[in-house]
Symmetry: C2
Subunit: 314 residues, 2 copies
């Protein structure tokens, strides 16, 4: 049997036909065009499903289910998607609309959650019974897998890892709260602190690398400068890692998964990031003589969204 996974983002709709092992056998994509509203986007998602089936030359009966990963959640009571970050959706009946075009079971999951599921089915946490996936991107997203299944809580509002509070009364967050972990542990946080630091230190490599155009600073520029030993960048990076570890240790002390998988832009810092975490984290865990979660880097990259969405239906 096959599964279809759809990765719905602000820029593009990516769909894939996925086999039992979590391998993508065919892909199809189209632009999201957020401004046209929810209905045509959902119709395009359904259309991509039919296209995949037709182009692969299989029967519709060979597809067991369709999974959709999106920047929001499903309300388990109404079955609607109450809202989606950046898509301006409000109470969208995704399942009903999809079923008007293609009559398959539809599963809906949060994008970070399905990426975590993908890693646990076909990526770095494959075969692990419990894992927490942390995307270090514009914000910080989370996906919890327990007993091989996506865990999103009783009301479906859990796994919002970026909105643990780690800095009491700290920076204002887009969620309306203060001090959320994502204000300190996201790529966005590195960029913000990198800009501040570069402004104060025009002698820094960060400043020079963007010719003083602070708006051009990216997380990669800051991290690369830290790798090169630039004092200002090292300070920004060390502070970042400290805040990152404060959240990681909270996840360990609370959920204690077998593995914590880091994805998103910052995870591309690779071994440099892992080394920094492994210098900081061991001192912070509660049970210092007991084993705890291994920290690993995501391996599926951009395909994780499609694979994980497909696996929702398995």
């Amino acid at each position: 049997m096959y599964y279809i996974g759809i990765d719905l983002g602000g820029m593009s709709i990516k769909a894939g036909l996925v086999d039992e092992e979590g391998i993508i056998v065919r892909k199809a994509t189209c632009p999201t065009l957020v401004e046209r509203g929810a209905r045509p986007i959902v119709d395009d998602m359904a259309r991509l499903c039919l296209e995949l089936i037709k182009d692969e030359g299989i029967g519709e009966d060979e597809v067991k289910a369709i999974g959709i990963g999106l920047p929001g959640i499903e309300d388990p009571v109404t079955g609607h998607v109450p809202f989606c970050t950046n898509l301006y959706w409000h109470e969208v009946p995704v399942r009903e609309w999809m079923n008007e075009t293609i009559n398959k079971p539809i599963f809906i999951g949060n994008d970070a959650t399905v990426a975590g599921l993908a890693e646990s089915v076909a990526g770095v946490s494959k075969g692990k019974s419990s894992s927490v996936f942390v995307t270090l991107g514009t914000g910080v997203g989370g996906g919890i897998v327990l007993g091989g299944k996506v865990y999103s809580g009783f009301h479906g509002v859990g796994s919002e890892i970026g909105h643990m509070i780690t800095v009491s009364g700290g920076d204002e967050c887009t969620c309306g709260n203060r001090g959320c972990w994502e204000r300190y542990a996201s790529a966005g946080a590195i960029i913000r602190r990198g800009r501040e630091a570069a402004q104060e230190h025009p002698e820094s490599k960060i400043y020079k690398d963007v010719n003083g155009n602070l708006d051009d600073i990216t997380a990669k520029i800051v991290i690369d400068a830290a790798k090169a030993g630039d004092e200002t960048a090292v300070k920004v990076f060390d502070t970042y890692v400290f805040h990152l570890c404060e959240g990681l240790v909270s996840i360990i002390n609370l959920i204690d998964p077998e593995v914590i998988v880091l994805g998103g832009g910052v995870s591309h810092a690779g071994q440099f990031l892992l080394d920094a975490i492994n210098r900081t984290l061991p001192k912070m865990v509660f049970y210092k003589t007991m084993p705890y979660a291994r920290i690993a880097l995501a391996t599926l990259g951009n395909d994780a969204g499609i694979i994980g969405a497909a696996m929702l239906g398995k």
Copy 2:
């Protein structure tokens, strides 16, 4: 069938014969006498089990299992208790020693965890599939129940809720870290802030209620003064509730249980505490239009330790 539950604390060993419904049918107790070391304490636990069976006039074969709740954890690999707070234990083979006297399956759990299990079997969270129990005592302990089962993580080091970090780089904690939730949300935290506030405000009710003997300040004295409208006490209490809610919202955004149960000394503030939480928490949760965990007060009191330990074997 019956179950035996043992609540091992620093002052006393409390044992109880518990039926299938989680009702205690007989109790037995003896002092812990920490200074005598682990072996005689474990022997006394086994002796209390035999005493309960004899005094109730039942056969040993009518007891299915023995559960022990203690201020520590079991190492799932060695089966030993690596250490216990305040008991000065080190790598104690509790199960083996117990079985030398009474040949029953032995289950070991953290004391806060088993209290949470008790509430979910016979207390306020009875019948709820997921709950997080939070003891607001000297420290902050936690018990997570998912799918009706105790959840303590992959390595057995999870559910240490008091050691989520909510105040980045904050007060030093006994665990060696800084800014752990329990430094701000425990009864101990109310006492510490109450003392500081009373020292600064000798006109306050807190100060007067202890005749200036600041060492006599308890959480109850501070909370009662807040209930009476004392300005200094209200400030301490409001700050406390804010910090408490920062952790509660982290639990909601991460684990999203059906109910969060508050136990321990501070929970005796009752409706006054719930009202304060319900004024603060709704503004802090991530999904403001979606339902989330009900906050409830524990109902089993001191019996929770025995009942929950017994239920480990069910």
